[in-house]
Structure formats: C-alpha cells, structure tokens
Amino acid sequence: MRQVHPDYNESSGLVVDGSIRIAADDNPVLIGTECSECEYVVFPSRPFCRNCLSDNVSDVELARTGHLETYTVAHTGQDGIEPPYAFGFVNLENVQVYSRFTEWKERSLEVGDQVELVLEKIKTDPETGEPLFGHMFRPMEEEQ
C-alpha cells in the first residue's frame, strides 16, 4: 500500500520543516537528531543535544513502525482540520512521537497496536488554502 499521499511533491509545504522525507526506497521516514556523545534521540531535529548539551549531533532516521502509546478521537475541530480526527503518541524504539492517525475508522485503534508511518495531508493552510503535509501513523494488518 502506498505510503506517500498522491498529491505530495517536492514543492509541497510541510507542517514541521525537515521533519519527514522520502527515503531511497520511496517510503517516508521521520528525521530526528541523535547525539554522538550520549546517544540521546530527539524529534523533531535540534542543533544540539538536550541531554548532554553536546553539539556533536547528526540527523537520524527514526523507526518506521512502532506501537501506539495512547490516542483519542477529537470531535471538535481546529482551524483547517475537519473533525472527527484521531491523534496520540507513538513509541518508536528510542523516542515518543506525537502523531495524527489515518485509517482509524476502518481498523479501530487500541493502545499497544502496531502502527506504521505514512506521509499524509495534515491540514489546509488557513492563509493560502494549500494543503500542508506531515507524518501520520496507521494501524498495521494483524500479525501473521
């Protein structure tokens, strides 16, 4: 199943600059920062390590799958986002990431679910009317 929204292209706007990119295998990947001194990982990226203050840091690709820490479905909207919509926190091995969810109506969410990263339309830019893109996670098929 395709993991990048069909309308997304190189000139599309991201909600959080530099937070996600298309990897060599055409799948999206989240970009964080890993500290070379203490191995602390943070998302989104930062110029220095908040754990040991070293600036010996570099971009790191985060895991594409993780498990659902918790979630909710919001029934009241925010500017540019049509309710209902789901969001929560995903645990990706070494970092907890806030995310919206997609395909949560088809496969209802439960804490502990395995989820995978997709690049999706997040909202409409209230000023330009153009879509803004970013990360979402979706529930994975039951394990075999």
Binding site: E69, T72, A74, Q78, Y98
Partner: protein
C-alpha cells in the same frame, strides 16, 4: 534568609461565569476589594502584588493588567508583577508572594488571578489556550487540551480497566457541590446518564466531563504570621507551597500523574504531613479524568485505585476527604489565570467554617493542586499548596 511563618489574612472572589458587560478591571477589582474590606488591611499596607493572568495581552486589552485593576482599589506606587504560567498562573503568583513574605522581604503582599474568556472571539480564546502546549508539533498538528485528557483517559483505562462511570460520578459530585456555591459558573442539576449521554468531545471525554470557559477573579492577602495574628481573628497558615515542571527528557507514562507525585512529595515533606492528614482538597479537574488521576498523584489512593474513592464516597462533601467542595473547575468554572487563587479562597473559607451549604465538617488541613499547560503530553507545571488553621 529569615524563615518566617506566612498566613493568609483574607481572600476575595468575583462571581465566576459569563460576566457580560463587566470589564476585566471591574470584576478583577471586586475580588481585591472584598479581600481588603473583610480584613483591617488598608490599600497602603500592601507592599507588593503578584497577578496571574494568561490572555489580556493577546486580547489587546492591556499588558499592565495588575496595575489597571489595583488602581481601581487605590493600591498604587508598589512593585506589581504579572505571572503567566498557563492554567496555574495565579497559584504561581501566590507562591511568589509567599516566598517574598517568607524571606522577610515584605510583610504584607497581595496575590491574585484574573481572566476574561467569554465575549471575546472564540478563535482568540482557543489560540490563547493552544499556546499552553508545544506549538511546534502537537499544536500545529491538531492536539487539543481535551484531547490530552482523552489520551490520558484511554491510557489509564487500558492499564487499569474501565472507569467511565466513575468519571461521570465525579462530574455529578462536582456539580452537586457547585449548586451549593452561589459564585459557581455552571449551576447544573445532572445525573450519571446526563454525563454519559452528552456529546463526545475527545474520546472518551464528553462535553459534561469538561470544564467551561469562564470569566472571574480571585485575590488573597498574605502576611508574616505575627502580623496576620494582629490583623485577623483566624489567620490561615501556609504550610507548603511547591511547584515543578515535567521530566520532558523521559518517556511519558500517560496512565500516571508522575509530575503530581513529585510535587506532592515535596509539599508533604515541607508541611510535615501526609495525604491521610488532609481534611479538604481542591484539585485541577479541567476534565473528570484529571481529578481521578490527581487522587493518585497526591497519594489519596494508590495507582489504579482512584475510582475506589468515588465508589466509597470518600471524596464526597460528607466523605473522609472531600474533593472540590467548591464545585471545582467543572462547576465553579475555569477562568484560567484565576483558578489557582480561587482554590486558595475555597480552602480559606472551608478552614474558617465560612463555606455555607458546602461546608465540610470541621477541617483543619487543606490542600490545593493546580496544573498548567503541557509539553509532549506531560504537564507544564503542577503546584501543591497546603493550608491549615493550626
């Protein structure tokens, strides 16, 4: 530093609700006026003032809101400091005032909070509130405050089992208490089914699990203990005043009030008491799950056992440890910058036996817990203040 005893001389509160037609300076000064008139403190006796407020600057009112309010009650020519720390702003103002008196810098200091939330465009109010979370990812990608409570509730119920009905019972309890508080915003006679059938806001949180947006102000005059003894018959002593931020570098356990646990521990140790010694408690019930998790964070119940306090009736007005006799944020209302000092007002009235129809039986030690904001799902600030009538 001289360690002085600090006591509340008197308190005042405006009505909470939609104060249509009242300027923020009007209901703000009403709260201060009440606090001054009910003691023999003159405007000139106030040496400093700390004011909690979140939104007046963003609402294009004034960024010197403290001075504007105090001018209305003749309190002028003193240091006036505004404290902004999301929904805990005025507890933080109170704690700053407390430190000034405790350190011996001043003898009599005013702490207050004020907020105007109705009658301004909803998008402005929502923007003020969204500013209390991380704006870079969560806020930009649709997280809402009730969403945070929804996430907490789902994590909690996954860990400990279904407490949906007990959450509704917390809302019913707080509305019952609020009906006995003439200054409470939402005067609602509701039962469990009303809560469970109200419209969903952020699963599993429903409309009647959530606090309203209110206008209101609250004020407290505090002083060095021996001065307070001269000025009022029954000073209410401040036995602990603590606040902490979250542990943002560690993973959040959404089913646990870890921040509360840390700040409560500090406060209990400062006051030399434990949770079993409390006679009356006010907590930050912006949503019902918040109140339930604060029971556990404050040690009133073990982790996962908060709902048992609801089932046993321990937290009811006539229970072992009544929680939110004022009606809490749920019913009294939540004018964000005023909520913390409003909790202090309630404790002072309760500890003096002046709480009328909602008076709990003969309390001597009270605790107020007030939360503000969030980053990556963890609290921005939690405060615990312990008061006693000695």
């Amino acid at each position: 530093m001289t360690e002085n005893e600090v006591a509340v001389i008197n308190v005042g509160q405006s009505d909470f609700g939609e104060l249509e037609g009242q300027r923020v300076t009007e209901f703000g000064s009403r709260a201060v006026r009440e606090a001054l008139l009910s003691s023999s403190v003159e405007p000139d006796d106030i040496e400093e003032a700390y004011i909690g407020n979140v939104a007046t600057t963003a609402q294009d009112q004034t960024s010197v809101i403290g001075q504007a309010i105090l001018r209305e009650v003749g309190v002028t020519g003193i240091p006036v400091i505004r404290v902004e720390n999301a929904c805990a702003s005025s507890t933080c103002a109170f704690q700053e005032a407390y430190k000034r008196v405790q350190s011996g810098e001043s003898d009599i200091v005013l702490a207050m909070g004020v907020e105007k939330m109705t009658g301004v465009p909803t998008e402005v109010t929502l923007k003020d509130m969204a500013g209390a979370a991380d704006a870079e990812v969560e806020g930009a990608m649709g997280m809402t405050f009730m969403g945070l409570y929804g996430m907490r509730a789902n994590a909690y119920m996954n860990q400990f089992g279904n407490v949906r009905e007990e959450l509704a019972d917390i809302a019913v309890k707080n509305h019952d208490n609020g009906l006995k508080n003439p200054r409470a915003h939402l005067q609602l006679n509701v039962d469990r089914d009303d809560i469970l059938e109200s419209r969903p806001i952020s699963d599993p949180i429903r409309l009647l699990d959530a606090c309203p947006m209110s206008d209101g102000a609250a004020a407290a005059v505090i002083a060095r203990g021996e001065i307070a003894e001269e000025l009022v018959e029954e000073p209410i002593y401040v036995d602990a005043a603590e606040m902490l931020s979250g542990n943002y570098l560690e993973e959040v356990e959404f089913w646990r009030e870890e921040l509360d646990e840390r700040v409560a521990q500090k406060a209990y140790s400062e006051a030399g008491i434990g949770p079993d010694d409390l006679d009356v408690v006010e907590v930050h019930d912006a949503a019902t799950i918040g109140e339930l998790m604060h029971y556990e964070g404050l040690g009133l119940a073990d982790r996962g056992e908060g709902a048992s306090l609801v089932r046993s009736g321990d937290v009811m007005l006539d229970g072992r440890t009544p929680v939110n006799p004022s009606g809490g944020l749920k019913s009294r209302g939540h004018p964000v910058g005023a909520t913390g000092v409003a909790q202090i007002c309630e404790l002072v009235w309760q500890l003096r036996g002046e709480a009328g129809a909602r008076q709990v039986e003969n309390p001597s030690i009270g605790l107020a817990q007030n939360s503000g904001g969030a980053l990556v799902g963890e609290g921005g600030v939690s405060t615990v203040t312990i008061l006693s009538n000695r």
